[in-house]
């Protein structure tokens, strides 16, 4: 079985400040990791994914994440946020040969002026 923990339910940050959204996972097999963004009343949009290779993954909208196997983490970062980044962010894991995605409970990022 696999699971995802997003410790922060809400993260307030001022515009142009850096931000990190935390994600930890547990799985008994090798994993693929994903970050999704959800704007109000919208579906989920893929930000970035780790499948293999370089542990630093760059995604859309200036976001990046680093896969850390020893700490079972996949934290999402952005060096300078914008008001338009205000949204809900979900970390997800897919384990082994299965296609099932397991999501965390989400982190609400609120960017303030």
């Amino acid at each position: 079985a696999q699971s995802v923990t997003q410790l922060d339910s809400q993260v307030p940050v001022f515009e142009e400040a850096p931000v990190e959204l935390r994600c930890n996972y547990s799985s008994s097999v090798s994993v693929y990791l994903f970050w999704y963004v959800q704007y109000p009343n919208q579906g989920l949009q893929l930000l970035l994914k780790y499948l293999s290779g370089s542990t630093l993954v760059k995604g859309i909208n200036g976001f990046e994440a680093e896969f850390n196997k020893s700490q079972t983490s996949f934290h999402l970062r952005k060096p300078s946020v914008h008001i338009s980044d205000t949204a809900e962010y979900f970390c997800a894991v897919r384990g082994g040969g299965g296609n099932k995605l397991t999501f965390g409970t989400g982190t609400q990022l609120k960017v303030e002026l």
Binding site: Q6, R94, G106
Partner: protein, 111 residues
Amino acid sequence: EAGVAQSPRYKIIEKRQSVAFWCNPISGHATLYWYQQILGQGPKLLIQFQNNGVVDDSQLPKDRFSAERLKGVDSTLKIQPAKLEDSAVYLCASSFGSGGFFGQGTRLTVV
């Protein structure tokens, strides 16, 4: 490329009534998923189809929920009878090989 289409966008029903949601995945995507997202929670997989066969329905409340995918393309998810705790957004997605594509969801309110 057209995305995953879902309808309706919003639905309000009374408890014990029935409701159906429709999903049209991206053309050529063999795998289709239905997720339930309750307010304040992450999406939870209800059912996964590979073409028109069910791969995983372990978290589908089969006493009231049913889903089908005729001809391996469109899919419908039905709830009968609905309960208050079924109020949620129902998301359809296709293919996770490269991360998956989600529709905008159907927001169901059961009153």
